[in-house]
Every structure is written in C-alpha cells, then in structure tokens.
C-alpha cells in the first residue's frame, strides 16, 4: 500500500514541475536563513555564517537532483527526451523506418481486416436473449447424404409436444411477397412464423403487438395479420404511429398491420421486412398432406448441452420413424447451434463446407503473415542496432546505464510499432470494404460488419506488443555487447549472437512464407478448377429477374400461364434479345426442390428406398435460352404448356443413368410426388446435366415440368441478349408494367453473377491467401537481403583481403550466397514439412486436387528459392565488385 501510494504521488509529481522547484528553493532558502541567524547569534561574521551554513547543507544542487529523482519517476522526465531522440534518429534513416512501418502496417492491416470479419461472424453475440441456448433443428437422412434438410410440420409438432430438452420451439418459412398500400407496390422478403417465434427469441415489437397462438391457428382461414420491420415502417410509412391497424395487401390479399419490430431485428436473413402467421394447426397430421419445408429453431433449457439435446432428439426421431415409417423411414434429426448454422454457406448447397473453415484458415494465414512481418521488423531492428554499436558504446561510455540504453532502443521500436499500428488500422478499414465485396453475399447479409473502437484498441495493443516483443530481443543483444570491441569498431566480433538470431528469423520467415504460398496455390488451383468446370449451361449475356404474381388476382392457372407466355413473347421481340423463358428457380442459386419419382411398370419403392429427383418447372424455350444441350427428343412447346395437354416430362442425363439405368428414356412414363394428383407422363426429351450442388459429386437426377402442370406464382425470367444483358432490364420492366401496372420486378441479376456467387467463398479464400503470401514473399525477400547486405558490410575487410590474395568475383559471390543458403534451405525444409502437415485443414476447401498436390509442393519451394537467390545475389555482387584497396582501407 505504502509503495503504491508513493508511486501514485510520484506519478502525479510528473506534473507541476515548476511549482515544485520553486517550493524547494523557498524551503532551502528559509533553511539557510535560519542557520545563518543561528550562526550570527553564535558570533560569526556575516560572511562566515553564510559560508558555514552552505557547507553544512552540502550542495543545494545535488540535494535538489536527488529530490527530483524521488519526486517523480525518472522515466517520466526522460521519456520525452527519448521520444525526440528516437524521432530524430528514425528520420535520419528513413528507408529503414519506412520499410519497418510498411511491414507492420501490412501485417497488422491484413490481420485486423480478417479479425474484424471473423469477430463479427464468430465472436460477437447474436442479437437475441441468451443466444447461446438457441439451436437449429433439421431433419437428416444419412442414407441420402442430407444433413440439414427442412423439417416436416407434422414431425415439428410431435417434437414440440414430446421433447423435454427444449424450453421452446418455433418454425418458419421464407418467401417473397408483393406488398401493396394504395397504389404503391413492391416486392419484399417475408417470413411466415409460428406464434412462439418472437417470444422464443425474446423480441418485443416497438409498436403494436405480436400475434397469439390462436391467431396463428386460424390464420390459414382468415389470413389477416402482418408485422413489419422498423426499416419498412420508416421508409414506407414514414414512422407514422397510425400504421398499427392499417389495411394493406400482401400478394393482393388484405392484411392488417399489427406491429413493428425493433430496429435491426433479423433472423437468418437481413433482407426480411414482413412477418406473418404461418397458419399451422398442431391438431392436424401434416405428414399426410405436406412434405418437409419448415425451418426450425429451438431454445435449449438452461445448462443443457447440444450433445444432450442431440441424443434426446435422436431417440425421439427413432420413435417417430417407427410410428410413421411411410414418411420417416431413414430420417433422423440433426441439431446445430444457431451461430454455426448461420455460418453455413447456403448458396452452394445444404451440406457444403462451413464458412467457419474458410474463416479459420484465413485467420491462421493472417497470423502467419503477421509473424513474418514481425520477424522482418525484428530483423531490420537487429541490423540497425548492429550498425549502431559504436554509437551505443559511446553513449554507454558517457555514463548511460544498460537499462537506459535498452529503454532508448525500445522507445524507437515502440514508436515504429505505433506508427505501423495506425497505418495498419487505416489499411484495415479499406481492406474490410474490399473483403466484403469479395465475400459471399448470403454471409454478409446476416452480419453488419465494420471496424469499431474495440478493434482499434486491439490494433494499438497488438502493435505496441509487437514493438516491445520485437524490440526487446535486439535491444538486449545489442546492449550486452563488449564496450571496448564496439568502440574500436571491430566488426569481426559483430557476427555474434545478433547474427545467429537474424539467421533464425530469416529461416522462420521463409518457412512461414512456404506454408502461406502452398496454401494459396492449393486454393488457387482449386478455384481455377471450379471455373474451368463446364457448368452445363452458357451463363454469358443472360439477364434474370423475378416476377411474383399475387395469387389472389391470378387465381386460375391459365391466367398465370397467359401472363408469363405473353411477357416472354413480348420480351423476345425486343431488339437485342435472342430468346427468353422462365423457370421456378434458376440454376446455381440456392437450395432446390426434390421429391420421389415413380417409373411406370416398376413396383413402388419400399419406404427409405424411394428415388429422389430434383424438380424444376419451366416455360418453353428454357433449354435454348440457357443453352443447355438437348441430347434426345424435343423441348416443350406452347402446346405442351396448356392445362389440358397431357403430362410430359424432360429429364437430364443423370436421370437416365442413375434412375433408368441407361434404358431407353424417350417414351418411358414417370410421375413425381409433387402435388396431390400426379398422373404418369411420357418422357419427351433428355437434356445435359448441370453441375449445381454437385461440383465434386455426380450430377443430381432432374425432372423438368412444363409450367401449366406445375405452376408457381413466382417465376424467374431468363433473357438471352446479344450483348450487355443488363441494358435490357428497363425495357423488360416496361413490358411487365404494360401487362399489369401493379406488378413489380425484383432481383435483377445476370446469370454470370449468379454463377459467380457460387464460387465467391472459394474466390475469397484464394485471393486473400494469395495476397498474404505475396506480401510474405516480399517480406522474406527483404529479410534475406537485409541479413546478407549487413554481413557483406561487416565483412568488407575480409573480402578485400580475399580479393587482394586473388579470389575472383565468382568465388566471392559463392561465398556470400553460401552464408545465406543455410537459413534459406533450413526454412524451405521446415516450411514444406509444415505446409504438408497443415494442408489437411484445407481439404474441405479444395477441388480437383489433393491437399498434397505434387505440383504445388514442387513449385512453391522453387519460387521461394528463386526469390531468395535474387535477394542474396544483390549483396553478393556488391561484395564481388569491391575494390581490394578501398575495402582494406575501411575503418
């Protein structure tokens, strides 16, 4: 306590120095006066009295000095002096300073950017009450390889009634709907949710109320309630409190707005503005009438673990499998924490590698790069200190203690760290923006990512730590050196501890660079593999947009068919349009619909062994527009697209191969369990396979319906243009408006854009890792150059002697290269070993190559060796071209 108090007083003593000094002067003056008074009384002369008092006091200045030491911490007074000195000396060697700061800024900037993104996605709490208790429940069918399938409402209600590990369970489904208010109409994302959805998440509306379980049950018949987002309330309704009770239309059905949700509320998807009751009745058994289409979220009881809940639900699912074999054969349940589920990349397919893997790989990579940057700075500092030994020795011989010298050197590296940190934060801000452009949009749409003050503090802390850690080793090494040797400028002894340390640092830099480069090359080769892969269609120059017809106004199927057919016909007549069509969901754009298929003449499949096929409903001209090759038979025509025309199907080659086992497909009759009535229909055509969801598997068997037989109110238009497809979006929108003035057009994109989204995760990882490894490569090169350049300077005299004794330049070059070879070769070997060990982590991100791809592991060390050779050659050539006499005369 006493010590702490004294320290605080001393710290405070750093301020008000002038006042303190004046007070001491006054106190000493009064002391001397009192002494003089006494001396005078004792009979001394005035002069003698004064002299005696001063002698007895013992040197006013030295007393003051020792009081100054006590009054404040010494460093407090001298730190500013250190800083000024450090700034001056850094300015003198600005090349060194810029290289060091740049190294740090690159390392910190990149790691901060990746850290920011990872922090937002992996660390930051989700905006729900006790979010760690929330889990997503999926159905799973291991036989078919489905791990995260949608949920059947029938099973959902049974889980809810029979489980005892969850305190609540809610279901939802996402769709898009047209909102109409007066004559305004726009398409928005909508979630249909069960009544306990909002209470489960712990969300209260900011205006109005939520709906009750009773209202949810009856919603299917009355269908009148609507909750809106805060954003929509502000933008569409101007934040008007009277919005509660307002009558609007959703898909041309009247609705009443009953509540506004809090700002920023979202669940899984930020692009949702409307919430409505899903309209399910727990008393009904939906297994008889509906498939699996719900998303299910549940809250675990306090202290329950995911493992326990999983075990319980697996047992429950087994009971339901026995109770309903016709529906649940081979189906079980998969539980996943909400955050993990949000990190899964939905666009590539339900079971793709989680984004978490990519992020963790990036974090590791960026850590390595930061390590390389730090090693580089340490290396530079060492080189710098070695060349300043004489200066330091002079300071030491003038009375600077070892601690003082170390402090001076540390101040310099701290300043460098700080400057690097500030540049790094600036860099990180740009980098985050760039990162988000490259990142998969479905990932970023559920997160709101920016560099915040926490990150800033983290960055400054990190940079200071870097400064201290990587300044202290060189400072210790340098300050320990022999004073006399240093003063004599004896360079022969200067390749001591510092030299070894630097060789180790270079080795470590090389090793890290090898690991980074190998990772980047593996990812890049995968990316090239993905992009070279024939997707099975021609995505160039295709415009896509969505039109969702309100079912209430387009009640009859012929009305809908008529609308889409005439829209397509008019669009095809636009100048610059080759062909147009529409499909229920475009390829490569997210999860698809699948169902069981029966083949006429074969006995029905046993439960659990049904044939699954992907279902797609198309307008005529679909295959021509996307240039999906027709292998056999013919395309749908307008006459197939009538409600009255017989059922006809087109299948893909995978269907023929896997389902028909290469039997003659044309003329074969099949049906699919898509609707309540499913008449058998003839196969009239076979088309090529698309490589969606199946980049590294077999293509999935697919059945194409003609629109009139399986119609949806919402369709995606596809327009093949001669050039620049986006220029057609306005004319197309005018055509849709011409057909129905209240009909909005949404999601205007190009097919290339949709396809690109599929690879965005791979692209992100590949580009980032490449960026990191290039930076690391440059830094490693600078490191090697620095070590050898320094060693050449230090050995100038030796080279001079050798040259004078007749060594030719080739021998001297070889000599220098040999000095550099050991850390380089050591680093290469360690790096290749490390990369081989770590490459397994990348496995789920690779495509077409193994994690031990031989080309990568040959090319990467060669590339690094080449860089090392160039970096080493420059100083070697300088050594070779030394004039012997000049060289001998140095020092």
């Amino acid at each position: 306590m006493t010590r702490l108090r004294a320290a605080l007083v001393r710290l405070a003593g750093g301020f008000g120095r002038m006042r303190r000094e004046r007070e001491w002067a006054a106190e000493f003056e009064s002391h001397l006066q009192m002494h003089i008074d006494d001396n005078l009384r004792a009979g001394m002369s005035a002069e003698e009295a004064r002299r005696e008092a001063l002698v007895k006091f013992g040197g006013v200045e030295s007393v003051k000095e020792s009081m100054r030491d006590r009054a404040t911490f010494l460093w407090f007074d001298t730190t500013w002096q250190d800083i000024r000195y450090a700034l001056r000396s850094l300015r003198r060697s600005s090349g060194f300073a810029i290289t060091a700061i740049l190294s740090l800024a690159l390392g910190l900037g990149a790691s901060l950017a990746v850290f920011t993104v990872a922090d937002n996605l992996l660390v930051r709490p989700l905006p729900y009450r006790n979010a760690s208790q929330l889990v997503m429940i999926s159905e799973a069918n291991p036989q078919r390889g489905f791990r995260h399938n949608d949920v059947s409402p029938g099973n959902f209600f049974d889980w809810k009634a029979q489980n005892d590990v969850f305190s609540g369970m809610a279901g939802l489904r996402e769709s898009r709907s047209v909102l109409m208010d007066g004559d305004r109409a726009e398409e928005f994302g909508k979630q249909s949710v069960t009544a306990d959805f909002f209470p489960l998440l712990g969300v209260q509306p900011v205006r109005g109320r939520l709906f009750t379980a009773e209202e949810d049950r009856s919603a299917a018949s009355t269908d009148t309630l609507l909750l809106i987002s805060y954003r929509l309330w502000q933008s569409w309704f101007g934040g008007d409190d009277n919005v509660i009770g307002r009558k609007v239309q959703v898909n041309a059905v009247p609705r009443t707005v009953i509540g506004v949700l809090p700002p920023g509320f979202y669940f899984l998807n930020r692009e949702i503005d409307l919430w409505e009751p899903v309209g399910l009745n727990p008393a009904e058994d939906y297994r008889k009438t509906q498939g699996r289409w719900m998303t299910c979220v549940a809250r675990m009881r306090p202290r329950a673990t995911v493992g326990q809940s999983q075990a319980h639900m697996t047992a429950l699912a087994a009971r339901l499998e026995t109770a309903h074999p016709e529906f649940n054969k081979n189906w079980t349940v998969e539980i996943e924490p909400l955050r993990d589920s949000m990190l899964r990349d939905r666009s590539v397919g339900a079971d793709s590698a989680p984004v978490k893997t990519s992020l963790l790989v990036l974090l590791a990579a960026v850590g390595l790069m930061l390590a390389v940057a730090c090693a580089n700075v340490a290396n530079l500092l060492l080189a710098r200190y070695s060349s300043r030994r004489r200066e330091i020795a002079v300071r030491a011989s003038l009375g600077a203690g070892r601690g003082r010298v170390i402090r001076q050197l540390l101040t310099e590296s701290l300043l460098l760290g700080l400057a690097g940190g500030i540049c790094g934060v600036t860099l990180a801000r740009w980098a985050v923006t760039g990162l988000l452009l490259l990142a998969p949009t479905n990932l970023t749409q559920s997160a709101n990512i920016h560099v915040d003050s926490r990150i800033f503090v983290f960055a400054v802390g990190l940079s200071m730590l870097t400064g201290i850690l990587f300044g202290i080793a060189p400072a210790l090494v340098t300050s320990r050196s022999n004073l006399v040797d240093a003063l004599r400028g004896d360079s022969r002894s200067s390749l001591g501890a510092g030299g070894h340390l630097r060789a180790w640092l270079v080795g470590a830099e090389i090793a890290s660079s090898v690991v980074l480069l190998a990772g980047a090359m593996l990812l890049f080769r995968s990316l090239v593999g993905y992009q070279a892969l024939n997707p099975g269609l021609d995505p160039s120059n295709v415009l896509t947009f969505r039109v969702s017809l309100p079912a209430a106004r387009y009640e009859k199927i012929p009305q809908r068919t008529q609308f889409f057919a005439s829209a397509i016909e008019q669009i095809e007549h636009l100048p610059g349009v080759r062909s147009a069509s529409a499909v229920m969901y475009p390829p490569f754009s997210g999860p698809g619909f699948g169902t069981w298929v029966n083949i006429a003449g074969r006995p029905p499949a046993k439960p659990g062994e049904e044939i699954l096929a992907l279902i797609r409903t198309v307008m005529p001209g679909y295959f021509r527009t996307l240039r999906i090759p027709l292998k056999q038979g013919r395309d749908f025509t307008a006459s197939d697209n009538l409600e009255t025309s017989p059922y006809r199907f087109i299948v893909n080659q995978a269907f023929v191969r896997q389902v028909l086992r290469d039997e003659q497909a044309l003329g074969k009759k099949i049906n699919t369990l898509m609707e309540t009535e499913n008449p058998f229909g003839e196969i009239i055509g076979v088309v090529g396979d698309l490589r969606e969801w199946s980049i590294d598997h077999e293509p999935i068997p697919t059945v194409y319906y003609s629109y009139a037989h399986l119609n949806f109110t919402s369709m995606i238009f596809l327009v093949r243009a001669e050039r620049n497809p986006l220029s057609l979006s306005e004319p197309a929108r005018r055509i849709i408006r011409g057909l129905d003035p209240a009909q909005p057009v949404a999601e205007i994109r190009t097919m290339e854009g949709i396809l690109g989204e599929n690879f965005s995760r791979q692209r992100l990882s590949a580009w980032l890792l490449s960026g990191f490894s290039i930076v690391a490569l440059v830094l490693a090169g600078v490191g090697i150059y620095g070590v050898l350049a320094y060693s050449v300077t230090a050995r100038t005299r030796e080279f001079g002697v050798r040259a004078a004794l007749g060594a030719d330049s080739g021998r001297i070059i070889a000599l220098v290269l040999k000095t550099g070879a050991r850390p380089v070769i050591g680093g290469l070997v360690a790096g290749v070993a490390g990369a081989l060990a770590l490459a397994g982590l990348l496995k789920s991100l690779l495509f077409g190559i193994g994690p031990r791809d031989p080309l990568t592991f040959i090319a990467v060390p060669c590339l690094l060796a080449a860089v090392a050779l160039i970096a080493a050659y420059l100083p070697a050539r300088r050594a070779a071209h030394l004039e012997p006499m000049e060289a001998l005369r140095t020092e």
Partner: protein, 114 residues
C-alpha cells in the same frame, strides 16, 4: 577514535520520525540540528540530506507538511507525524531494537556463552 560515522542507510528516516515524535511539528533545519545534537555530534550529517528523506516519508504518507512561521519570524515548512507515521515508527523501533539486540549478542560472544 574521534572520526564521525556516516549515517547508515535507512536509519535517517527512523531518526527523522523519532525527532518529530519527541519534538512535535518541526522544519527541516530543526530536524537536522536535532539529529546532529542527539547523536552527540558523533554523526557527520549534511543538513541537505534530510530533505530527500522528508520527501520520501511524505510520499509514503508517514508525515505531512505545511508552511508556518518560525520562532525567529521566518517562513518555514513544518513537518508533522501522521497517524500512519506513528504506527510505522512503532514498528520500526521494535524492529530496530531487535536487530540491535541480535547484533550486540553476535558482537559480544563471551556474554552469550555464559
């Protein structure tokens, strides 16, 4: 041997505290004088050295200071013991007596044997 002893490390602070305890509030000059006199002039003390010691004690909270007027009408800074200082002094006195007792036993081994 008439040579004066230097002030031993750490003992000056104790002397200052003891002086303030027996004489009450006092200025630096008075403290230095008193220490010299009490030692029977056997200590060689530069008066100035009491000031760093006073500063240290003040920082540690054992003494407090304020400006006042001396008996000869001079402005002077007066130091006085604080409550913490009194406690500290008591502890230090005991510790010192113990040390002194032990040391003297070591230095006079004959007595110890008896």
């Amino acid at each position: 041997m008439n040579e004066k002893a230097d002030v031993r490390q750490g003992t000056l602070a104790l002397m200052v505290l003891k002086t303030l305890q027996s004489l009450g509030p006092l200025h630096g000059y008075g403290i230095a004088r008193r220490i010299e006199q009490t030692s029977g002039d056997r200590l060689s003390l530069n008066y100035g050295t009491v000031y760093p010691a006073l500063l240290k004690l003040e920082q540690e909270g054992f003494i407090a200071s304020e400006w006042g007027v001396s008996e000869n009408n001079r402005q002077a800074k007066y130091y006085r013991l604080t409550r913490a200082g009194r406690g500290h002094l008591k502890k230090q006195e005991r510790a010192w007596e113990e040390t002194a007792a032990i040391m003297s036993r070591f230095l006079k081994p004959g007595e110890q044997a008896s």
